[in-house]
Subunit: 153 residues, 2 copies
DNA sequence: TCCAAATACATAACATGTTATGTATTCTAT
DNA sequence: ATAGAATACATAACATGTTATGTATTTGGA
């Protein structure tokens, strides 16, 4: 249940510096991450799929949509693009003819290994000057907000 | 320079609980805000335009794109949809024939007055149980991250 | 003054998501 | 055993953004 998202945007000032700040931070994360990923030929929407299929794992499209926290049609079109670009393979599930099994190609596996270093680099930049205590406090407060908002879904 | 965004998404676990949390919070804010706005017939991408043109203000499309922190072509298509839906009016700038002046229609003005209450409601839900001190700490930490990331753009 | 650069907008192609809907397959309860 | 519900996927129409590019107008420097 954790998911960055490529994301477009809203912009508001008052009365919500809080949502303005979190969304602004997400915007900045996303822009910088996309720039970082561009060097490796990956797109930001592809990350959850690459992560879910690491180490040769196989999932069907529904499981991938659930993992990425997007709707099924969005995952279908994402996977079509990734298959076109040679990052994944799709084959019919022999045990359920409704289902399609997805795996990474060797190229997808190789490229997926660039993701973690890129994310680490970004996190280091974001938390520059933070003490370990400050970092913990921030995570705790964000988790409380996360929990409050999730309960409203 | 503060802006929520409608936003699609990424999803990552390790090594970045921080970016995972902020982006997850943005995702939740966005989903809940869209749900709230749906009652009023507004879309989330329209918010910065409605805010920028409050109180009868007039801006050209470039100024609106800058305010919303999106590229000019994105603003052009957004405004075309908003004009189609009767929220804004566009007229040629008499002093510069390259430029188009944008204002809210009466319907746009009326609907824009629903935004602040919706945002306030969301912020209250997000910060449920927070003391004023906790709220201040959170804002301070987010502003520091914001500043660090912005300096990398 | 006038030409080159800058500016404002539009259009096209695309990525990434959303609903709404349709089709094929599987499951389940009588 | 089978009919109806549930599941997995696909397709269409759309919103919201991005680059790349083109056009028309304005500006500014030799």
């Amino acid at each position: 249940m954790y998911s960055i998202h490529t994301f477009p945007g809203i912009r508001m000032t008052a009365p919500s510096p809080l949502s303005a700040l979190t969304t602004r931070n997400t915007r900045l994360f996303t822009l910088l991450l996309e720039r970082e990923l561009k060097k490796t030929g990956l797109r930001i929407g592809q990350l959850p799929v690459l992560q879910a299929l690491q180490d040769g794992k196989t999932l069907n499209q529904k499981a991938l949509a659930d993992f990425a926290d997007i709707e099924q049609p969005g995952m279908t079109t994402l996977l079509a693009r990734m298959e076109r670009d040679g990052l994944i393979q799709r084959e019919p599930d022999p045990t359920d003819r409704r289902s399609t099994l997805v795996t990474l190609t060797p190229d997808g596996q190789r490229k997926s290994r660039n993701i973690v270093p890129a994310m680490e680099h970004l996190t280091d930049m974001a938390l520059k000057g933070f003490t370990p205590l400050e970092r913990d406090i921030l995570v705790t407060l964000l988790e409380r907000i996360n929990s409050s908002l999730k309960s409203q879904l």
